[in-house]
Symmetry: C2
Subunit: 457 residues, 2 copies
């Protein structure tokens, strides 16, 4: 066998100790918050049948699915006059956690107690063109509740977002809108058939500015009067109560078109209820009714959320919304749900950028026993064992090499304590432990476990 | 879109809340032990280049690799007169954690401090025929140290096995042998070229018995005198010291062939050192030098391990060994390492079989606030928030439906406490909490967080 220069597929990553410690810190924080709200963890397989995945993410999404060649003789009975891919690939890699969740709910509906509160933290794969911050394998952290239309669910998602970022020390603003309100925009703009066009255009307000948004709506055939109505909406400002009152007036026939939008009013009612619940529960982060928030996905039907870091420019780090028919495609209609997804990679970048990772995360080992010879080795083994039993991460250097090399090892691994023992310690029944940061050194009886633990902590 | 009956690919599994809680219990236990020995977690991508994977697992293994169709127009520039698979698939799914680990070490050698102690807990995929207990997607938990030939590393692996199964409450026997000793068998049996044949045969001793093992060795061309030597070895019994002394005599020319095996003696020396270290450190589980232990994999060069549950028949639940040239194929020769792998699915089955999972694992939520109306809902939200802040898993039922339905929900989710509050509680500023197991019910001031926590714990 010839020697290969090793590499990994483009768009994928290895995670070493330091990155893993940081990633686990994020996942563990998120997971611990999900758990205090009674959300249950599930996992689904990396491979799903292509029939489950195809057609769920639009034409572009279908192209970005990683397909798995059928095992065995995939090309054995292929008709070469027909497209080959569908004949040789029946499975694909999970593209997100939402479709597998919908599939899971339908497949396991008889075992599930509704409302079903689940979270899921697993990698997904997309054959996107890799670029900075965009990977072909990345983790999603999704939390959803399905089987209840109550705004209490929306509230809980906001509370979880608030708690997670509070624990991580990231100041965020939570942006909230409602898909029914967006429908209302189109209705009072006199273009109820143009909801998607209007939504797509105003979603870009932040990036391209009002004039370009208006141009785009005009290009899509929205008439001047309609554009004026949308402009009026987007220029609303003030508190939630002020915006709400203004929007209510507009949806009640107060716009230039005079159209009344029942759907829009329903959306405002949901927002009003949610903001009332947030007041009752108490949310620490600022929450904004953001009438320009649209989010791309077409399956949202109620509340939509997006979370932005206040002190670091990176776009949305968390987002989601309510959907009314996610499980319909798998044969279980009319099951309303709401969920959000935490963007682990972006949150990681924010924590690096703002230097918010706890300092001790990277210290894997607390104490290294340096080893001078076979007798010294045997002497420290029971001490190491006792300390590990007490939960301390302890290493025993495996070779009796030069002390310089053992110190270097401690240094490279950022191990804060070292213990070097020779024949005199063995005779005295003690271990010497040195704090490599402060220089403080102390001898302990080998049996003085509590004192050693105190010195190490 | 037509309605599809949802399913997942054969050989794969969904894991619900109960299974996840149990699996996490196993992984968390293993992980916590690895960490007290200073092992560092890494993760590698699910997809590896096929050039990394092919040829590493034998011909059979190559067939069992899941191959991923190239993205874009995979069949666009294909030569149909040549085999198609290599032209349309450049990547495959991880088959085990060992080859990716070797690839990782070589690729990141400049960033690594050797000896490098790593663990990795990730799924692997094999296109095996699915059957009971054999899956196409399953987790491996591997722990390895690379860059040191010291038997201290073997000792640590045994210690970790001992501690993990001690924590899980599973009584095990740790079987140890040495690949060099197996080479010695072949040498003193007069058939140094038949190590693999002899190894493969005696590995089946447990399953097929001595007579069939002898037949198989005869079929492979081992002569009667050689077979007699192997039989003599396999019939050795007694303590480690007794077996060791007997083997030393045989390898020193005391067998019927009179051949001296330096390799065999070296293997015995390693075993002697390891057993001495185990004595010094103290191992709770029984450890047996098992001269019939061979393990299939050809890359082992020193110690080999296998762990069996004493109270549940399921085969090996953990195994591994020392290898001297794992990274050679990727261009980094002469780096010796040793590792073991915990079989999570089998350990799961043992814990189910012996009823060793802690009882409270399945309880996700501690307290359910039942909801009678909008006012009651708002009233309990701050209490729920405070309890969650103290780490208690609390749910607020999202709809003001019939109490019967809310009780059913608590029952199905095995929630042990329920709180039902109406206008009288709001007036009094109290919450009522009932222990659903004991029937005990108590009223607390909403501000009496510590008392509520005590009642719930």
């Amino acid at each position: 066998m010839s020697v290969q220069k090793p590499s990994i597929p483009k768009g994928t990553r290895d995670f070493g100790q330091k990155e893993m410690a940081r990633r686990n810190y994020i996942f563990d924080t998120i997971r611990s918050v999900f758990r205090t709200y009674g959300y249950q963890e599930i996992q689904t397989p990396a491979q799903e049948n292509l029939s489950t995945l195809l057609g769920k993410y639009g034409e572009e999404g279908d192209k970005l699915l990683f397909r798995i060649l059928n095992s065995g003789d995939a090309f054995g009975s292929v008709d070469f006059d027909k497209p080959l891919t569908p004949q040789v690939c029946e499975k694909g890699l999970r593209y997100d956690l939402t479709v597998p969740f919908a599939r899971y709910v339908v497949q396991h509906q008889s075992e599930i107690s509704f409302p079903f509160k689940r979270f899921q933290i697993q990698p997904v794969w997309r054959a996107d063109r890799p670029q900075k911050g965009r990977y072909r394998e990345f983790y999603q952290c999704d939390v959803d509740v399905i089987g209840s239309r109550s705004q209490v669910n929306e509230l809980e998602l906001v509370q979880m977002v608030d708690t997670v970022f509070g624990k991580l020390g990231v100041r965020v603003c939570i942006h909230i809108n409602n898909r029914k309100v967006l429908t209302g925009f189109a209705e009072i703009a006199g273009a109820p058939d143009k909801v998607v066009d209007i939504t797509v255009a105003i979603d870009k307000l932040d990036k391209i500015g009002l004039e370009k948004v208006k141009e785009e709506m005009a290009d899509k055939g929205l008439e001047a009067g309609g554009i004026a109505v949308i402009e009026q909406i987007l220029s609303l400002s003030g508190s939630f109560g002020e915006k709400l009152a203004a929007m209510k007036a507009l949806f009640n026939g107060g716009s230039a078109s005079g159209v009344v939008s029942e759907t829009g009013l329903k959306g405002l009612g949901e927002l009003e209820e949610l903001f009332g619940l947030m007041d009752a529960a108490g949310i620490s982060a600022p929450v904004e009714m953001d009438l320009s928030l649209a989010r791309g996905l077409n399956y949202y039907t109620g509340a939509i959320f997006e979370v932005k870091a206040l002190d670091w420019e990176i776009g949305s780090i968390c987002g989601g919304g309510r959907y009314d028919n996610l499980t319909g495609i798998f044969g279980l209609p009319d099951l309303s749900g709401v969920g959000i997804s935490f963007g682990a990679d972006r949150i990681y970048d924010v924590l690096v950028g703002l230097e918010l990772f706890p300092a001790n995360l990277e210290q894997a080992t607390t104490l290294l026993f340096a080893v001078m010879g076979a007798d010294e080795l045997r002497y420290v083994l029971p001490v190491a064992k006792a300390l590990r039993g007490a939960g301390v991460a302890v290493e025993v250097y495996p070779e009796a090499t030069k002390l310089k090399k053992q110190f270097d090892y401690a240094d490279k691994k950022a191990i804060p304590f070292i213990s070097i023992n020779g024949s005199s310690e063995i005779e005295a029944g003690t271990v010497n432990i040195k704090n490599l940061q402060s220089g403080e050194q102390k001898a302990f009886a080998v049996s003085a476990l509590q004192e050693i633990l105190a010195f190490l902590s």
